[in-house]
Amino acid sequence: MTATATSPSATILPFAEPLKAVRDTRPLRLITCGSVDDGKSTLIGRLLWDTKAVKEDQAATLARDSGSQNDLGLPDFALLLDGLQAEREQGITIDVAYRYFSTDRRSFIVADTPGHEQYTRNMATGASTADLAILLADARAGLLEQTRRHATIAALMGIRQFVLAVNKIDLVHYDKAVFDRISHDFREFALSLGVRQITAIPMSALKGENVVYPADASMPWYDGPTLVEALELATVRSTQAGGFRLPVQRVVRPGESFRGYQGTVAGGSVKPGDSVVILPSGTIANVSRIVTFDLVRNAAVAGDAITLVLDRQVDVARGDVIVSLDGQPMTGHHFDAQLVSLQPGGIEPGRRYWLKSGSRRQRVAVEPISQLELATGKWQPHASTLAMNAIGKVRLSFEELAVFDAYDQNRSTGAFILIDPDTLNTVAGGMIIAKRAEVGGIHREDQRVVLSLPADLAEQLMASELFANRRDETEIKRMTAKQAAELFSNAGGDI
């Protein structure tokens, strides 16, 4: 590394300020994402710098390592994130870097993800736990296919808050029209992903404009928040909706008389006296105590790591899920899911993988159904291998009963990974859509079935790709409930 142009380290030292983050909530978890070289690492480096999270010795190392990579005499902020030798040599990010910083309003965990398509799996790693995504676009290039891929993966993984950072605005002469066009394009695209919470900010990560400090001089036309202001206003993912869920990690039996089930509450809440069901067996019991090291508790909520004691001797093992009697998860042998394929071999139809969800690991066969075409945003039928980085819909088939919630109901009990049985590597991350109902016995040669359904349900059925693909084989008429009842009284036998 050559010496930096901004040599006297004293001139670039941030001054230290007491840390005084309010700690009345857990930290906000966020990621940066977007295409390669759009400035993600530079942005987070700048954010750390301007929030005084960089210490003097680290600043001195940064000054030493920064080449003359920009003509503004600024340090190469990306080096605060790109900590691997290979990353520094190639000037790209390869794997996620996790960093921690705080303002006086709240604290943050940020995952800086790689833009390079080859390392999409590492972006997915960062996205899976995030509350918010900062999606970067280079002002000169706008939205690229990789920008769309990252936005799609982030949305699939349940991120509902986006900051669109139109970066390198300094390189397009702070042109408002460029900013407006890219933000408009993104809002349109995001709508197709079901994302509505978007804050678009014109930014220069390198120069620190609209990151922590506003840029009234260079962008008088922008009156929205800076990045930090937007982050301070974001919400942490709320507690999982629905009933109580405790995936059992281990059974603890320190003595003859004590038997407890240890795990992290993955949804809802529990208190002594509650009736619970153990899945998949279906056994029912009551909670007698919630034990933690800090003595006995009178309630536990999602996120709490606890030990549960039941009122009777029942058979509970690691991998079981203890759930509330009301609002149980789905159990079945067939589920539909979305997944992101993460390794070079792809996900092969019919192959048996290990599936891990919560503390449960079981065998599963995976059948691809369709694949998302990034350019158009459309799902195309696809039954062959889902190649690396593909986003697909699949059917999961289990030999043993499986227990899930839909991912949009519970980000914990609806999530899973696939493990290749040969390499033992993690090859996919997946999100449960729904249980596949096994109706059976309806299909007969040449026969037709007449259904009478509420219009809203018909609309959902017709929106499915399965239906859309065979739309020309169907007949549809609209009528009142009364008319339908009359028509049906004259129709063939019930199914």
């Binding site: 210490k55 790693t125 090291f293 800090d294 709490d304």
Partner: protein, 317 residues
């Protein structure tokens, strides 16, 4: 219905404390989850115990995770024989007090070949007495998972590491090809000989560690608190001068002053800081206005950017 002590086999049952703030609570929950998951999935886990503040927090969390049961794995201390005297005393006290299985390993090459931090330089010494010693101990124990107290905020290559960090049979880390790690669903499948290093404190910062120590009243080696101590200035570091093996070089004198340590390791390689913070409150107050990072006092981390990654690839924690 309070849990009676007779019912459990835990020594030193816990006392009631005010609840943690949501930030620390979230970090604690995550760490406990990781402890339980590793203990359930691996055949033979071990916990690296280096006696410092992070290890002390790690141990406290392990005790919480498995309560009311015992910590279901041994603690491994890699003793270079150059640790601070107070560290070793503290280690033995804690093992006794909490009824822990403690395994201590020293690389025999140290004594056989006379390898010391003075005679062989910090890089070679660390490589043999820490990294190689660790590999020996892990192989000897046949451990397939090893907990460590490393935090991502410590250093740039640590910031890249997974919570389950996969190792080849010869303990190598391949940072360019880490397993994806989604949500809190950890992939604990390894073949014979392969292992993972598990890091329950990954998402903790130095300030979190200290605030947790305060909230949970966790005992620490007294060297973390300022006191009047003898020291020698060498290579810009203040080295504690109490061990007779420290030989003064020409021009060096033993001085006395109020000093303390931000991290603890081998005494010849660990620099003290000048400080009057003699209790927890003062340490935290000092930390919150600190302008340099904690690793600045460690000779082995200062060599060059990328030196930690290199050591980690070879099997260092």
């Amino acid at each position: 219905m309070p849990l009676s002590v007779q019912e459990t086999e835990v020594k030193n049952p816990p006392v009631s404390r005010p609840p943690l703030d949501p930030h620390l609570k979230a970090l604690e929950n995550e760490a406990i989850h990781i402890f339980r998951e590793v203990a359930a999935e691996f055949e033979k886990p071990v916990m690296l115990y280096s006696i410092g503040k992070d290890s002390s927090v790690l141990l406290h969390l392990a005790r919480k995770a498995f309560y009311p049961g015992r910590v279901p794995f041994p603690l491994l201390h890699v003793d270079t024989t150059w640790k601070f005297k107070e560290m070793i005393e503290f280690r033995d006290e804690i093992a006794e007090k909490y009824d822990l299985d403690l395994v201590v390993h020293t690389n025999p090459r140290g004594a056989e070949e006379g390898i010391t931090p003075f005679s062989h330089g910090s890089a070679l010494y660390t490589d043999i007495m820490k990294t190689e010693a660790l590999r020996q101990a892990l192989d000897a124990g046949g451990y397939d998972a090893a907990f460590g107290g490393a935090r991502r905020d410590e250093e740039a290559s640590r910031a890249k590491e997974r919570i389950y960090s996969f190792r080849t049979p010869d303990h190598k880390w391949d940072p360019r090809n880490q397993r994806p790690e989604l949500w809190n669903v950890y992939n604990g499948m390894v073949r014979k000989g392969e292992s993972v290093r598990a890091f329950p404190l990954s998402n903790w910062t130095e300030v979190d560690i200290w605030r947790y120590i305060q909230a949970e009243d966790i005992p620490l080696v007294p060297l973390y608190y300022a006191a009047e101590r003898p020291y020698v200035e060498r290579d810009g570091m203040m080295i504690l001068a109490e061990d007779p093996r420290l030989e003064l070089k020409p021009g060096e004198t033993v001085q006395h002053g109020m000093i303390r340590f931000r991290t603890l390791g081998c005494f010849p390689l660990t620099g003290a800081i000048r400080s009057t913070a003699s209790n927890l409150e003062e340490v935290i107050a000092e930390l919150e206005i600190a302008t340099v990072s904690e690793r600045q006092g460690r000779a082995i981390d200062r060599d060059q950017s990328g030196s930690m990654e290199k050591k980690k690839r070879e099997g260092y924690f």
